[in-house]
Symmetry: C2
Subunit: 499 residues, 2 copies
């Protein structure tokens, strides 16, 4: 084997793996958007076979030999080639640590579990979902131990979504948030509450769909490479940088639920759409970590989307689409209403301030589940207790409690903290961006392209070329500091509530 | 290798191949329904890799050895097992006759060609599509010659869609139709024309969607295993017998276009949904041939869907959904309007009588293209000439001419005759069914289940267990005779037009 041949073969291998992931991704998208309800079994069988094939490709002797050969010739590789080898090896080491049959069986299980979760949520039937979640928790623990037998399981899981992030950092991070957020919430409680009832009247779905298209346009989404669909739980998926899909969920009596889902998912989509062409079809394609990804989705959702400038920008369109509902209201009323801070039940509807507490509830439950301190069957009770403790709300049922999110049912344990982390990353990015751009001036003008360009230059174009920590630090020129986020929140909510 | 091991390995092989076809099918469905426009290239790359893998599975040494071993032990196999081996061998012999790289390159080409066709149709730009179609024609010829070097290419192509059907039969069949249909059309021309203008006013799409759901319910479609989507050109696809998808295309100013697409595709779907469970995930799953398939879609579309009994059944629903549009109209007016016979431009909108002439135009063009008598660049001219000759209509543009159908762009040459053949099969099935059931009495009652059950018993449940010819003859107890169809047409149109 010579170097050129090896490099070519390695690229082909990555492309092949990409094709399987592409196919499985489309099948998953289909399953959650338009597939008939009774089709899970057949899909599970096919996904099992395809994921088995993908597993075989990633852990094949050919792959191992190529990695070994290329690592031995690392000095002759370009920086990108070397990174491809490093990242491929990192992923295949994890995959190979899991026995093939267990790997495949778990993919089939997840396919089924997603379907069961959806039904369980719709019928408020936690018991039907519990055995599926039990197996997911068990499997997460088992796989983490296969991969890092000596490691702490929860640390291993956190690292999978945000490389280098562990419980020590997470605990410190959440403590820093709690210290600032809890008193802020208490102060707001004493103030006159904002009236947001005009956002909860009748909003015809077809008009909401028009509104989604408008928002995606404002957010500079290239619709030639990104569509929007409808799912139980909104998400973004990408098959390559030119094929990105976002989803939302429309509610007839709620304008902002879908609106902020669309903005959030558009943030994810923007990241994917603007990755560097040179990484396309390699294992370096796409966003580098969930923390960085959520920094973008939550940046657009909150720092941009819930700013007064953005509300002023879009309010004329809101009035055009929903003239009766907005009668007598101003852009400032709209701004106040979308920033109403109030402890509530549903994470994706939570305001920026109380949001982190929703994440803390989930993070602590995940830790307890993984450490075996609680069982899956305890979840409804523990969820209710923690929601009462942190947010002071009573959980009326599991649909609005521990069944509300799709993450656990799709196998993701250790993902939730990245939402809060992303929010905090975003605030530090903003501070940095404001040195170069009049951010809110641009938003007010409806000219978001320079903001996207700035993020593309600093973050998006690099795809997975750098790990999240060095990438983050290269952008802000410093270490991560959660006080940018708490300062941002204090300033914003003090102004809104006159604290 | 022992027999049990071989049978098991052979089943696994079929299942594996099924999984790849499932994935590629979902990707195709996604491409034609919701994918953003600019995503063809990435999809083509992945489809190329997956079809290469499927090719490798179907033509692998393992597959060859299994087939050889099982053929040598044919006497020890069940009838179904023996048929699986026979059908698998038949398909893999064809696949293996094509060099792997050409096979894959063609799949990639078809993916692109489908996209180009759609744009060409929408912009009436035949020139942009012509080079893609040229390659498709060339490749069809080349592949047919690889497979049957001594065979007549057009016969080889016809045989792929309807085993045992060749030009000799097709020519005789179309001659029989022409002999009866052309004088009928001439007689109708002398009569007072039917007013169907009330079917071409404004029909809101959301109401048409409700109507589709209603029609699928009437047609006994199990919505738990069948959804409806929207595409440029309606079609049915199935990933297994429990996962069937139909599509339609809604036109704001035309009720019956989508209505009869939905009924037509529901006929295809009913066939797939009612195949025997024992064939699931084997190469015997699904409908046996395009002729038999079209016999079902056209049976429901026309023999059922354009009957007076059906119009009486559904008319109250039509009035409920479209009260203004139906004001002053009766079920009989509706029946007459949906059976208005008039030479027209668009095949899928054509009435039952002139429909076969649309097929003849296509069949003759296909023959001429394959034999090299005309070139792809001649298509617009030849199309217009033949439409004038057979139907007496002037073709105003290619969008309503040779670009109207998706078939050629998706690689299907020799498929069109099965529509006419299916229509004729259907009339002979009806004659037979009427001996057992009061077909139109049941339709009038809205009780179509006994009709579906009859067809399931005689046709659907057998999936690909028998070739189309013996299957057909087992149902009707005789040979195929096109006069059942021409008699049916004569009777129906004589009554409608008082001939």
């Amino acid at each position: 084997m010579d170097l050129q041949t090896a490099v070519k073969a390695f690229r082909d291998l990555q492309l092949k793996l990409h094709a399987y992931n592409h196919a499985m991704g489309v099948m998953h998208l289909d399953a959650t958007t338009v597939a008939p309800a009774g089709t899970g079994e057949g899909r599970g069988i096919s996904l099992g076979i395809l994921s088995e094939a993908a597993y075989a490709i990633e852990t094949s002797d050919e792959a191992k030999e190529l990695v070994k050969y290329l690592l031995a010739h690392k000095d002759e590789l370009s920086a990108q080639q070397a990174r491809e080898v490093e990242m491929f090896a990192r992923s295949s080491e994890y995959t190979a640590s899991i026995p093939a049959d267990e790997f495949t069986a778990y993919q089939v299980h997840l396919n089924k579990a997603g379907e069961v979760w959806k039904n369980a949520k719709n019928t408020n039937d936690f018991a039907s979902f519990a055995p599926y979640l039990e197996k997911i928790v068990e499997t997460n623990i088992k796989f983490a131990k296969y991969y890092k037998p000596e490691g702490d399981v929860m640390d291993t899981l956190l690292d999978q979504y945000e490389r280098g992030f562990d419980q020590k950092q997470a605990d410190a991070f959440f403590a820093a948030l709690r210290e600032k957020i809890v008193p802020l919430i208490a102060k707001i409680k004493e103030k006159t509450q904002i009236d947001d009832s005009f956002l909860h009247c009748d909003f015809p779905i077809d008009k909401q769909k028009e509104f989604s298209d408008y928002l995606m346009e404002v957010l500079c989404i290239d619709r030639n490479h990104c569509t929007i669909g409808e799912t139980e739980h909104p998400y973004t998926t990408n098959f390559n940088k030119n094929d990105v899909r976002i989803t939302t969920h429309y509610y007839k009596n709620d304008l902002t639920n879908s609106m902020y889902s669309v903005i959030h998912e558009s943030g994810h989509a923007t990241y994917e759409l603007n990755c560097g062409d040179e990484y396309q079809y390699t294992c370096l394609s796409g966003g580098v970590s969930m923390g960085i990804h959520e920094s973008q989705s939550r940046f657009f959702e909150n720092i941009i989307g819930r700013s007064e400038a953005f509300c002023e920008l879009i309010f004329p369109k809101v009035c055009e689409l929903f003239p009766e509902q907005m009668q007598g209201k101003t852009a400032h009323d709209f701004y106040l209403a979308v920033n109403k801070s109030e402890p509530s039940l549903i994470r994706i509807q939570a305001d920026e301030l109380t949001y982190a507490l929703h994440i803390m509830v989930r993070y602590e439950i995940e830790k307890a589940l993984i450490k075996g301190e609680i069982k899956v069957s305890d979840l409804p009770r523990v969820w209710a207790e923690k929601m009462k403790e942190y947010l002071g709300v009573d959980v009326p049922d599991d649909a609005r409690g521990c069944l509300q999110d799709s993450h656990w049912g799709s196998g993701s344990i250790g993902y939730f903290p990245t939402y809060a982390l992303g929010s905090a990353y975003g605030a530090q990015f903003l501070a940095c961006m404001e040195k170069d751009l009049d951010v809110y001036g641009l938003v007010r003008e409806g000219n978001l392209q320079p903001i996207v360009d700035w993020l593309t230059e600093k973050i998006y174009r690099h795809a997975c070329m750098y790990d999240p920590k060095p990438l983050f630090e290269s952008v802000v020129g410093a270490e991560f500091d959660p006080h940018y986020f708490t300062d941002y929140l204090e300033k914003k909510y003090s102004a809104i509530y006159g604290l």
